[in-house]
């Protein structure tokens, strides 16, 4: 009997951190060992695949025997032998280790377009992508369509920029094709700087060829012979796979001179970002590719008129480009059928924070936030209550639990004071302080402000100062009003998107959690128990068993006491980190 066995091991950054490499090696070893003894002829292959989204369950392993797929979760190298012996050789899957119902619920409400091949194709093998229909869109476009036709399809599909601003992609391309001159540039923006976002990383790691194919089609449409991928150096695995994919595409004739025998040349270069958030802004990104300080400049002229090296330039986000081949293959109507009236298609979100099932998800536009949090996300970690969902990173805002029925599309999110952003979605629970969250984002934007324009450089610094004194118990009576006025000023007078959106986290937290700001300022109290200066920890003697667990985790050495006798916290040394509070099994640490 012939069996066709294929093993897919999740090897995104999450999978590798959980030991994916070792699991893959164990399978290879087990097969080599079993191959000698086995009498039946088997074809066994072990693939590495990119992120399949459910990183919280890593390492995820698919065992496919004659097309019949079983998925295992939390797999460690020492579990591999049993899987090989009992399931692959013996034919009996190990049900205890298999994924349960919640794994399927996680996937059922999702519609995968950009992620449809992530976790299925081997990102390091172009054949794997081609066998699933890859590069067919390129062939279709180059052999049967005029550039203007491609642009019309993208326009009809309703695809909008997935980097955050949501500008219609087809319209952008249309502007580029009309720009004069033979030299144009297409840049793929993979400088995913928002903290709490990893969509683009996962797409580039999991299916780099889709991004390259999107670029080829885009370049053909606008007539650009040169392409760049501007990618963060903090994503080494993505960079490696992208470079390999470009090399393979070149070898197959999808990149280079006279692609598919047509009069169309296109080459892609990879440029590594050097770690500056502001380089996500188009003009700053261009300056950075040119080797300068990545500072934005005033617009107009827009990059489409005068961009890289002074030539017309189009900048598209990774996810936007990765959508393109699928739209070409399946048609504009198919894509426009998903989503809402103004926001078409699907959106990838990085669902993280205090959520049960954290990971990467792709949902149709217009899905209620509630379904994302409770059906896909499985609710809040540790059975606690949802407080808010932060979307759009440092440029976005918070959606409080009271309006969790808000739908996820560009318009609705804008209406509640947040933004779609690039797709970061950080779930906060009742133990998170909203003033602290606002301070965290301001710290980020203040550090990342490039310093070119005064409103952003000085404004974010002053905002941060006010927020800091509020969280340290030195808030002043009119601080909330001051924050509001200053925020509005920074928003309206900053040069680029960084400054224009930096006050959003402040404004949205004041809008929904004014009472928390007031508690900090007037009562010198942090209701969520986060702000260190408004807290103190002490040990309740009657509950303390003297187990010394707290003393051992205390990073400051502030806890003293003999074994089996009640301990004590020396307040002067305590740094209020909360390590003891979380370690104590007897609830003997009092916070307040």
């Amino acid at each position: 009997m012939n069996k066709d066995v294929s093993i897919k091991v999740c090897m995104g950054t999450g999978g590798i951190a959980a030991g994916g490499e070792a699991v893959k090696a164990s399978f290879e070893k087990a097969f080599a060992a079993a191959g000698i003894k086995a009498t039946v002829d088997r074809h066994c292959s072990v693939h590495k695949v990119g992120c399949r989204g459910f990183c919280a369950r890593d390492v995820l392993v698919d065992v496919i025997i004659n097309g019949d797929k079983s998925t295992y979760q939390y797999i460690k190298p020492d579990m591999v032998e049993r899987i090989v012996n009992e399931h692959i050789v013996g034919g009996a899957p190990i049900s205890d280790w298999q994924v349960k119902d919640d794994y399927h619920t996680f996937h059922n409400k999702q519609i995968k377009v950009v992620l449809s091949d992530c976790g299925e194709v081997d990102p390091e093998d172009i054949n794997s992508y081609i066998s699933r229909g890859g590069y067919e869109a390129t062939k279709k476009v180059l052999t049967t369509m005029a550039p203007q036709e491609v642009i019309e399809i993208i326009k009809t599909s309703g695809l909008r920029g997935r980097g955050g601003a949501g500008f219609p992609t087809g319209v952008k391309w249309d502007m580029a094709i009309k720009a004069p001159g033979p030299v144009k540039y297409l840049i793929c923006n993979a400088d995913e700087g928002d903290p709490g976002a990893f969509m683009d990383r996962s797409v580039v790691e999991g299916n780099p060829h889709a991004v390259i194919e999107g670029m080829i089609i885009g370049a053909y449409a606008i007539g650009a012979p040169y392409g760049y991928v501007y990618i963060r150096a903090e994503y080494p695995l993505a960079v490696e796979r992208l470079r390999l994919a470009i090399k393979q595409a070149k070898e197959r004739g999808f990149l280079g001179k006279n692609i598919l025998g047509k009069v169309f040349d296109f080459n892609i270069k990879v440029k590594l970002g050097a770690g500056a958030f502001v380089c996500g802004e188009e003009t700053a990104l261009i300056a950075s590719i040119e080797g300068k300080r990545g500072q934005p400049r005033a617009k107009p002229p827009f990059p489409v008129q005068k961009g890289l090296w002074g030539k017309p330039t189009i900048i598209n986000n990774v996810e936007t480009l990765a959508n393109v081949p699928y739209i070409i293959r399946k048609g504009a109507a198919w894509y426009a059928d998903m989503g809402t009236e103004k926001s078409k298609g699907t959106k990838v979100f990085a669902l993280t924070g205090k959520i049960q099932n954290s990971g990467l998800i792709e949902v149709p536009m217009g899905i209620p936030l509630r379904e994302v949090i409770y059906d896909i996300g499985g609710g809040i970690e540790g059975g606690r209550k949802l407080k808010a969902v932060q979307t759009g990173g440092p440029s976005g805002g918070c959606i409080p639990s009271s309006i969790v029925d808000t739908t996820l599309d560009y318009e609705s999110l804008g209406k509640v004071g947040s933004i779609m952003g690039s797709g970061g979605m950080v779930v906060l629970d009742e133990t998170d302080c909203m003033v602290n969250v606002a301070k965290y984002f301001l710290q980020f934007t203040q550090t990342e402000s490039c310093g070119k324009c005064v409103p952003c450089r000085v404004g974010t610094k002053r905002l941060l100062e006010v927020l800091t004194r509020i969280t340290e118990g030195r808030g002043r009576e009119d601080d909330i009003e001051l924050l509001e006025t200053l925020s509005t000023d920074v928003k309206t007078s900053s040069l680029c998107g960084l400054g224009q959106s930096a006050p959003n986290p402040v404004l949205s937290t004041i809008k929904y959690y004014r009472d928390e700001y007031e508690a900090h300022i007037f009562e010198k109290r942090c209701p969520a128990g986060v702000c260190k200066d408004l807290l103190s920890y002490s040990i309740l003697e009657e509950f303390c068993k003297g187990c010394t667990a707290c003393a051992r985790v205390c990073p400051a050495g502030a806890i003293v006491g003999e074994k089996k006798k009640p301990h004590k916290i020396i307040q002067d040394i305590c740094i209020k980190c909360g390590a003891c509070f979380e370690t104590c099994k007897f609830k003997a640490i009092k916070k307040g």
């Binding site: 999450g14 951190a17 959980a18 903290p195 994503y235 924070g353 954290s358 970061g424 965290y440």
Partner: protein, 161 residues
């Protein structure tokens, strides 16, 4: 020896139509930080004032003007890591490794503790990268064990991720 390395970088720069950023990235990966003599060397060869190099070097977070420790521990400070306690991990690191306030490297050049904005591994927050190995769901306990192994020199370098 050093001259050779610098010549190598210069050749690569000319072949790949690089720019000042790629030169700085190459110096950084060759020597671990931006050596003053290396920058001066390029400044002379390319007839570009050193200030131009430093303007770029201080703009981007990736570049370092001081030597870094043998072991580099990177703490992710992304939103997910922040709400899951990355600050506490950093505090315990700085204390354990005796790093002076305002510095990021221990005096004996054995350890560097640096913060990065987000490594994009939010689903396994909080994340600490120890010599390029990503460690997810980190706790102060696990971290201290890791540091202990490093101090005893048991752990070998892994050059992946």
């Amino acid at each position: 020896m050093m001259e050779e390395k610098l010549e190598g970088i210069l050749t690569r720069y000319r072949e790949n139509e690089g720019n000042l950023i790629s030169i700085l990235q190459d110096i950084e990966s060759e020597f671990g930080y931006l050596r003053e003599d290396a920058i001066n060397w390029f400044s002379e060869r390319l007839d570009v004032p050193p200030a131009k190099f430093y303007g770029i070097a201080t703009f981007y977070a990736q570049f370092h003007l001081k030597p870094r420790g043998k072991n580099v521990i990177t703490a992710c400070c992304g939103t997910a890591c922040h709400v899951k306690g990355s600050e506490r991990l950093i505090n315990s690191l700085v204390k354990e490794l005796d790093i002076a306030p305002g510095e990021d490297t221990s005096e004996d050049l054995k350890f560097t503790v640096e913060k990065v904005n987000c490594v994009g591994a939010c689903s396994i927050a909080p994340v600490i990268i120890v010599n390029k190995t990503v460690n997810g769901k980190m706790t102060p306990d696990k971290l201290m064990k890791e540091i202990k192994t490093l101090k005893e020199g048991k752990r070998e370098y892994t050059d992946y991720i």
